[in-house]
């Protein structure tokens, strides 16, 4: 399963269309296959990011807020979307691999340091 997470610093980016960085990982059943790749995008663009997701043959998208038109597009493309996720991208990746991630989930790491 190919997973893409939109990131901002160490967290899942609050908005899909504002993200300038993504993590791409492959894995299943709680473990990663190979390296996690980081891609820095040249600019903020939901359109370009959608193209990248399709081009990279992504099966699962983890992001913060996403506009409905893009959400529906990914659903139509049979891409699983976990949107509204708040917290560290490492924790999100771990949870998606173990099958425990849910849309709109506020992760433990989101309140870390408070």
């Amino acid at each position: 399963m190919n997973i893409l997470i939109t990131v901002q610093d160490h967290s899942v980016a609050p908005r899909f269309d504002q993200a300038t960085e993504v993590l791409i990982a492959t894995g299943e059943a709680g473990r990663l296959d190979g390296q996690v790749r980081t891609i820095i995008l040249p600019h903020r663009s939901a359109e370009d990011l959608s193209d990248l997701i399709v081009k990279e043959d992504i099966d699962c998208l983890v992001c913060g807020g996403i506009e409905d038109s893009f959400y529906r597009f990914f659903k139509w493309k049979k891409i699983r979307v976990y949107d509204g996720v708040i917290g560290a991208h490492a924790e999100a990746l771990s949870l998606v691999l173990s099958g425990e991630l849910r849309p709109g989930m506020v992760l433990d790491s989101a309140r870390a340091g408070v």
């Binding site: 967290s11 609050p14 504002q18 913060g64 708040i86 506020v106 989101a110 408070v114």
Partner: protein
């Protein structure tokens, strides 16, 4: 909950306090972590107090203004409030245009203890109303000319420059002015309208600039004046073309210096007010005639917006007819009304010199006069029928502006016709109510005072009627 300041974050009171604010509100600490949200913000984002508390503000708001918290930190560091426009993604994945007011919260120390962020949903406001919302505040228009106007509103809202709105009477200059204000960064501040043509010079001066106690007989206490009341907001000067020349000088001085002396005052008052002016008169002609100062004209005419008359707005007439039908049906019996094809044809062929105001009054008249579900030609005001030419001829008349008349001014014939129509409308309504003025005022959609004023204007009061005979 982080202990930010015991003064502002007394957690027993804070949620109730925030819920009383009719806007989505979020309070954050110095680390930009959420301390409290109100129920309106919860409705918007889907994150309630328990979910949002302790989270980084960007994650909760999902706004376009975040920029990794740069703008929030700027407000914290400067201690000065800011208003910015952006958008958020709501819980239903919709993008909503918002105005964010970021205000520092001061606790015991000099440095701000946090921020209160208030959101104002701009997407629900009337300015860009591209649908018939049924709201009285919505500006309705689908025609290309009105679309151009709608396109200009956000551009004009973004600047601080003066705006001059021109257009015939009844074209909606007031609504456009308010829409510009509501979409500007001054939206949360006052929008004050003053009619420069309705008051005598001395009264207008005191209304605009205020006076100090003892400035003249009767000035028993200080009066702030419209400029001071509009501080931080917008002052809308309607019928600016009718402003007396001496006051034009004073207005120009205020526009240049942003300060003035109130009547009888010795201390200058500084103001931060944006000016939007409107007139149905051709100001250039008035400048040429020496009735309007040229320098003030250029000072006001930085941004110019001309509203097209209804007869140039293509399909908008039909759209507005439907809108007013629904509005008045809801106010009266609630029964849905329609115009017959023949009645619509007469309406569509009519040039509406009084523009939308006239159309509104005609529809209201018909809704009240017609007992049937379908309003037919016979229910239209008789003056309209008497005047309305054949559809083909009317189209030719509509497309041909009156010779020698400025397009921004209603032509003389039309003005005379409108007065005739109005007079007949009043007479017909009073006949219907058997002379009961209160009921007639309700039917006409006017206040009793307005009806009285118009009765006098048309010589229909008992005294003038007796004197004038056929007045």
């Amino acid at each position: 909950m982080p202990n930010v300041s015991p003064v502002i974050f007394a957690d027993i009171v804070l949620p109730d306090l925030l819920d009383a604010i009719p806007h989505p509100v979020v309070v954050v600490d110095r680390n930009l972590r959420v301390v409290a949200v109100n129920s309106r913000l919860e409705a918007l984002t889907g994150l309630g107090q328990d979910d949002a508390c302790g989270l980084y503000v960007d994650s909760v708001l999902r706004s376009s203004i975040g920029g990794r918290g740069r703008i929030f930190r700027e407000v914290l560091e400067s201690g000065r409030a800011r208003v910015v426009e952006g958008d958020i993604l709501g819980r239903d994945r919709r993008r909503l245009t918002m105005q964010f007011t970021l205000a520092p919260l001061h606790g015991q120390s000099d440095e701000p203890a946090g921020l209160v962020i208030t959101l104002d949903d701009l997407s629900i406001r009337g300015a860009g109303a591209d649908q018939d919302s049924g709201s009285a505040d919505a500006i309705i228009g689908q025609s290309a000319k009105m679309q151009k106007v709608f396109d200009l509103i956000p551009l004009m809202a973004r600047t601080e420059a003066s705006v001059l709105i021109t257009g015939e009477t009844g074209t909606g200059k007031d609504k456009i002015a308010e829409a510009i204000h509501q979409r500007s960064s001054r939206a949360g501040k006052p929008f004050i309208k003053i009619n420069c043509g309705a008051l005598p010079e001395s009264l207008l001066e005191s209304e605009l600039f205020g006076y100090v106690k003892g400035a003249f007989t009767g000035a028993v206490k200080d009066k702030p004046g419209m400029f001071r009341l509009a501080q931080g907001g917008t002052l809308f000067l309607t019928e600016i073309g009718d402003m007396p020349l001496p006051l034009q000088v004073k207005l120009l001085s205020v526009l240049d210096d942003q300060e003035f002396f109130p009547l009888g005052g010795e201390k200058k008052v500084q103001v931060d007010v944006r000016i939007i002016a409107a007139t149905h008169r051709p100001l250039k002609d008035r400048v040429a005639a020496g009735l309007f100062r040229e320098d003030l004209f250029y000072r006001l005419n930085v941004l110019h917006l001309h509203l097209p008359p209804l007869r140039e707005r293509d399909s908008d007439t039909r759209f507005l007819v439907n809108h007013f039908l629904r509005t008045f049906a809801a106010r009266t019996s609630g029964q849905t009304r329609t115009f017959s094809f023949a009645a619509l044809e007469v309406l569509m062929a009519y040039p509406f010199p009084g523009n939308i105001r006239e159309l509104r009054n005609i529809v209201e008249y018909c809704v009240n006069i017609c007992p049937e579900r379908e309003i037919d030609v016979e229910h239209l005001p008789s003056s309209l029928l008497g005047r309305a030419p054949q559809p083909g001829a009317a189209a030719a008349e509509i497309s041909r502006p009156a010779e020698g008349v400025s397009p921004s001014q209603p032509n003389a014939t039309a003005a005379v016709d409108w007065l005739t129509i109005e007079r007949e409308l009043i007479v017909n309504t009073l006949t219907l109510t058997r002379g009961n003025r209160s009921r007639a005022a309700v039917i006409l959609g006017w206040g009793r005072t307005t009806l009285w004023r118009k009765l006098k204007q048309h010589g229909l009061t008992p005294e003038t009627g007796n004197k004038g005979g056929s007045a």
